[in-house]
């Protein structure tokens, strides 16, 4: 438990400092709030900070102008599986956006850095000698890279829908994919000045 919390904190510090040291200004940061339900019926949400990374490029496709951009982002989220556990995760990665003339866009996120922690209900451990004891703050920590695809409408405040796949590893003897259904909004993070 302590080891996983330390790992999560280190990851958050690394990615956070990457974002804070960006030469781009705070006006280029967006706050993202997303309903992110595991399989739709296990409710959850996630919060992300999206920071411009590479300057926007504009191109013309079939006579229509589209702009593409890359951002880096850090995400923290959780969901609650009513019958068994709550999952908390923190992830960092890059976001590619492709926006059309009328503001409709699609984006693709790849977050290779990720940690997931399950929080289990009451848990009892049985050791090799058959001794039984209750586990404090029970759960398991897994590596949790993720990928997501969204469709949405850009604007001062933008919205999107899409899906996210997170892979927990090692899970039991192999891996476990988690499917998230997402509905979210992004708003600019304004400067405090």
């Amino acid at each position: 438990m302590i080891r996983s919390l330390v790992c999560s904190a280190i990851l958050a510090l690394i990615v956070g400092s990457m974002l804070m040291n960006s030469p781009l200004s705070a006006q280029n940061r967006m706050l993202e709030l997303t309903y992110s339900g595991n399989n739709l019926w296990n409710p959850g949400f996630r919060l992300a900070i999206v920071q411009d990374w590479k300057e926007e490029k504009t191109s013309t496709l079939l006579g229509k102008e589209r702009s593409t951009s890359w951002s880096k982002m850090i995400t923290a989220g959780l969901y609650h599986d009513v019958e068994s556990h709550t999952g908390f995760y923190i992830q960092a990665g890059a976001l590619y956006r492709n926006v059309g003339e009328k503001g409709w866009f699609f984006d693709a996120e790849l977050s290779p850095l990720g940690l997931y922690r399950s929080f289990l209900t009451e848990t009892w451990a049985v050791d090799d000698n058959g001794n039984v004891s209750q586990v404090r703050l029970p759960g398991r920590t897994y590596l949790a890279p993720a990928a997501a695809l969204h469709l949405g409408k850009a604007g001062k405040r933008e919205w999107f829908v899409g899906g996210r796949v997170m892979t927990l590893l090692p899970y039991n003897t192999y891996i476990l994919p988690l499917l998230m259904i997402e509905l979210g909004v992004r708003s600019p993070l304004t400067s405090t000045k």
Partner: protein, 338 residues
Amino acid sequence: MRYLLTFTLALLATSCIIINTGRISDVIYVRHKGADMPAHVHGDPAKNTFLIVLHGAGSFGLAFRDGEFSQNLEDDYVVVYFDQRGQSMAQGHYSKPEDLVDLMAEDVLALAAVLREKYGEDINLFLMGHSWGGLLSGATLLKDQSQFAGWINVAGATDIPLATARRGSRIQIIAEEQIDLGNSIEEWTAISEEVDELDPSEESSYRPTLRLAARAIELLLRDEVIESTTTIEKLAQAILANNPITWAVSDFFNQPVSEAREMDYSLTPRLQEITLPTLMIFGRYDVSVPLQVGAVAFEEIGSDKKDVFVFEQTIHHPHDTEGSRFVQEVRRFIEENR
């Protein structure tokens, strides 16, 4: 954004509502040798009697929590629906063990120890296993039967080589019977001929025999020889109470029956060592665990107090197809032995 936040919080709040009815309704995890395995504990503790249910291959604990289990057995006893290592919602990190069956049997004993720690040393524990769970429950008893007051073996695959060897001949017997009754004659004749071509002693015939068994089950249901038992409640348990993706992926990666097959796992040579009161229930039309497996288990078990019932309108799930009778026999058995 405000509406989205309100909506999200409302969803989270409704999912956390717990209605206290005075009965036990717990989800506890058992941590043992790298695995965290959920046990859904539901029912009335007044009789101080707990029934542990071990699911079959590719299934999950809560698959049993519909119909007669939730509506009847939980009124009299506390039923413990257990997700086994590597199955359904069980999680953790561990390497593939050398003897998976042995480790999973130890898991069940760990569950029994946790139940005694949490609910009292004096609780009466009964162990029920269905299909693969029948083998696992028997293997558990061979490690330590002193923890339990009785064994309920439901269509238990206690002898994997025997079940494999006799599956084809059981399909043949059912095919002949159905042809005599005039049911789907062409299809049953085709199945019978295909079974004839398979040699049960050869590994290559294993999958084709299972496919023929699936076709046989389809015909029995289509001709209404056996009533279909898929209910809304069961679907809800599979999709909503359980996580179907987690369940399916875990089942894909962790298949204890395959391990048991590789080991030619059979409890038959040691069943004499089990002396607990035992109830066995098998289905007449079972083409997964043929009746012969039950007959041998009943003959070999060392219990003085043993009963076996063959349910006439059942394929492999007597608790679903003949639920009322199933509960009646289980309740009688528990009351006589608790």
